[in-house]
Symmetry: C2
Subunit: 309 residues, 2 copies
């Protein structure tokens, strides 16, 4: 039985797992903090891989889901803003030198899309769009059963398209991106600003509730909180309509905390989507569903990448 090592590196934790080729249930899994013990993140990653490395069967390959800008074909992390020292890091080469097996690298949101396609809500679909709406907005695109990674692995940055020209500043430094008007961060900022303006709400003037707290308040009828989700849903629907015109997927999979708030976000999103598509077939021939794999999407996507290689 072929075995594979999968890795999901985030700003706060590193997850590693060993999979048999025939199951998406790992035979061994381990989580550690990305930083600590006076070690670099790379040292920590190498050490935790050594801990789970099987002594019986050989490992076929290692696949890594990593954040930031990568050159997947060169196995290079160009820059990962949340991980100290990860600038022009030849991560694949480093692991190849240590473990003497092929090493594959992919963007975490792109690989999450691949995870949902292979093992989750997108199973059986060949044209799929995955959108994760949480602190930020990211995603990945599968067309004709192939991950769209682009010429330099920088495709799928679907949070960084203009939704409101000259709108609020995005985390990336540009203005009015969909991430800047419809992410959890954007929802929280909208409510904070309206509270500061004196708009009445269940929240105290001057307070800074989280997107989760705003969702809870909305479900209890707080109008300001409902408005915040309506607005985010409107923008998401309009931008997803653009994506449908460009890509015409058979299924759109919504991941991330904001997507999990049910009708609160999905009702205004669907109304806006139907309003903005240029032909009803874009929506009538398409399903929109919530993600199935949660936090496991990246790790399972890395495993899926190994299987595809």
């Amino acid at each position: 039985m072929r075995k594979f090592a999968a890795v999901d590196v985030g700003g706060t934790q590193i997850r590693v797992a060993i999979f048999n080729e025939d199951s998406s249930k790992p035979i061994l899994e381990k989580k550690i903090k990305t930083q600590g013990d006076g070690q670099t993140p790379v040292e920590r990653l190498v050490n935790v891989l050594k801990e789970v490395w099987p002594t019986d069967d050989p490992i076929d390959s290692i696949a890594i889901a990593a954040p930031g800008y990568l050159e997947p074909e060169e196995g290079l992390v160009v820059t990962a803003p949340n991980i100290p020292g990860w600038v022009n890091l030849p991560l694949a080469q480093i692991l190849r030198d240590q473990f003497h097996v092929p090493v594959y690298l992919g963007n975490d949101a792109n690989l999450a899309a691949m995870g949902e396609w292979k093992f989750g809500a997108g199973k059986g679909y060949k044209d799929l769009l995955f959108i994760t709406v949480s602190t930020g907005i990211g995603g990945g695109i599968i067309m004709d059963n192939q991950l769209i990674s682009g010429a330099h692995g920088m495709a799928g940055e679907i949070g960084h398209v203009v939704a409101v020209p000259d709108g609020p500043m995005c985390g990336c430094g540009k203005k009015g991106h969909i991430e800047a008007v419809a992410s959890g961060t954007a929802i929280a900022r909208y409510v904070r600003e309206k509270l500061a303006e004196g708009v009445p709400s269940a929240f105290k003037p001057g307070s800074s509730p989280s997107a989760k707290e705003i969702a809870d308040a909305a479900k209890k009828g707080d109008q300001l909180s409902i408005d915040a989700f309506n607005l985010a849903g409107f923008y998401l629907g309009r931008t997803i309509a653009d994506f449908l015109h460009i890509l015409n997927p058979a299924i759109v999979i919504m991941g991330g905390g904001v997507s999990m708030s049910g009708d609160l976000i999905m009702k205004p999103l669907m109304a806006s989507l139907e309003e903005h598509v240029i032909a009803k077939e874009y929506v009538t021939n398409m399903r929109i569903v919530t993600a199935a794999l949660g936090d496991d999407a990246g790790l399972l996507g890395a495993f899926a990448l190994s299987l595809e290689k």
Copy 2:
């Protein structure tokens, strides 16, 4: 030697050509009007194909570039607004019954992208975006040497993404699409509106110059005409930046009359593109060029489709 029939159907003319598999120069070609002689467009298409049909070698297949919404896999024209009677037309089936060879169907702008990729400005690139800016804006996407047609052949409608929310009405009936603010039609409308407002220009107040006439006036220094192209270039650059974030192509090929106006459109476009990308690598690792095949792109794209099948 294998031979292929290629067809490009437009609102005004139908072009057919016979190709040998080893050359993009047709061995026989014919153009006719789409309508006339009391025949339906389908009858005219069948007749002209019979005229060019070789008597020596057999034909391998027929490939058709057609406008409008198609279901390529079913060989169905769902609706082609410029061609009377083309609603839910089983075009592939009709031609199969007549000529007893496989028939492939593709959207004309998508196939033009394929033509440029196989025989034109995109030769040798595996990740390509083709944008045609003329009366309208259309295009096609090739990723990893595959045409992105989407689940129902409706991908690549890149003229119909929102550039200016609540902006001018688009030909499709929705507001503020890039086609509505940066096509030749949009450039002409902008100048017409400014002239009506009394903005001074080389054109007479109340006149309605074409995009071509505006380009000529701009080249002679007419400020209103220069402004119109600057604005269109700004919007195109911002929207193309979105496309780069989504798709990360290695090359962007600009076709259509507006793209052919040189620096007038390309200078503001490039400045806007550089301003709006979230990482310079999207532009520095990418080429942007004008199309090479002109009006032949659709026909050659249909031929390319046959070769790929």
